[in-house]
Amino acid sequence: MKNPNKRTKSNTIKRIANALKSESGGGFGTIFIGLAIILLAFVVLINIADYSLFTYKRNAISKAMDYAITAAVQQINKNQSRVGVANGFTEGTGETMLEGVEIDIDTAISTFLFVFYANYKPNNFSIENNLLVCSTSTLDGKLSYTIKANSEQKFDGNLDDSALIEEKINQAIVQYWPNAEDNSQVYISGNPKTNMIENGTYLFAFIKDIKIMGLYSQRNISLSSFAGAKLERL
């Protein structure tokens, strides 16, 4: 003889199976499947909205950086720079020179922050502690650079080749943020011919590891922007 308990169980399963199959019922099955599809669609929608919010904010930040860097690169320190007709031309050939035009890094940072926040300033968002700025200028064929972040000490020096600036920036990143979670690096020298920073007056800004909130998830990214001073002499 079969176990009566077993029979009851198999009967229950049969009854459920019949109920699902039966022509008269089946409504609950439709509801469950329908609700499952709705749930799935809802999860997909929320995820899309989350990512879309993130990309919108990221694009706004990157655009704000673009405006900020072109504003900041104009903060030229005329006291430190070689200005005037006497310094504007080479003595031998009379060619115009754009050497020795220095960017004032402190006012450049404040200009950068001002224009950045004018473009993008939601609540509880700041980049002061994540911003690194590097300015370069040429003097007697050498590239002199100044790197500053966090209103801490500056790193400065001279380089023979502008391709070496990438290494200096990356060293500075490690020194400014020794305990950073991500080890994002700056790659601006693909090879010496495609180097972004040439011998000249340039400003480079890097925002390390900013947190951007989507709808519910938070993503960390690092962004950089770069501008030349667009100088001319009469």
């Binding site: 089946g26 900041a72 200009t111």
Partner: protein, 148 residues
């Protein structure tokens, strides 16, 4: 009979979800396009230092394809940057004025009507909760200027 319940519950939920998705997608896409349009206009001023009346008409025309924008919905401002990198105040910009290198230029646009998403969310009772299409761009003119 049970199938009728299924229709009563499932179909309206799917419809609500679908409409919400559509309105969100519409808002997101239009908002991105409006920001891009404003950025392009600001870039032109950044490079040339001037926004002509025809440039402004073109901007209104482009924005008008996305939502309702009138002439007064577009706020143009400009101002001088201090030597220390701060700005004291912005005054209104008249189209056609030529800005010098180093001046600040700002565009702010806000649509006449609230978005479909905002109307669907039913927050229209309170003015502050309305969701308009807005975009802002603040730039500094960097056209080359000859100095000694």
């Amino acid at each position: 009979m049970n199938k009728i319940y299924a229709f009563i519950i499932v179909i309206p939920l799917i419809a609500i979800l679908f409409l919400k998705t559509m309105s969100f997608y519409e808002f997101d896409t239009k908002q991105r396009y409006i920001k891009n349009t404003v950025d392009s206009a600001a870039h032109k001023v950044m490079i040339t230092g001037v926004m002509t009346a025809s440039d402004k008409d073109e901007l209104i025309n482009k924005l008008g394809k996305l939502s309702d924008f009138q002439n007064e919905d577009i706020t143009l401002k400009c101002g001088y940057m201090q030597a220390d990198g701060t700005l004291t105040s912005l005054y209104s910009y008249v189209p056609g004025n030529v800005l010098n290198r180093g001046e600040i230029f700002s565009i702010y646009v806000q649509s006449e009507d609230e978005s479909t998403l905002s109307r669907m969310e039913g927050k229209s009772a309170d003015e502050n909760n309305k969701l308009f299409y807005k975009a802002k761009a603040v730039c500094r003119v960097e056209k080359p200027q000859q100095e000694d």
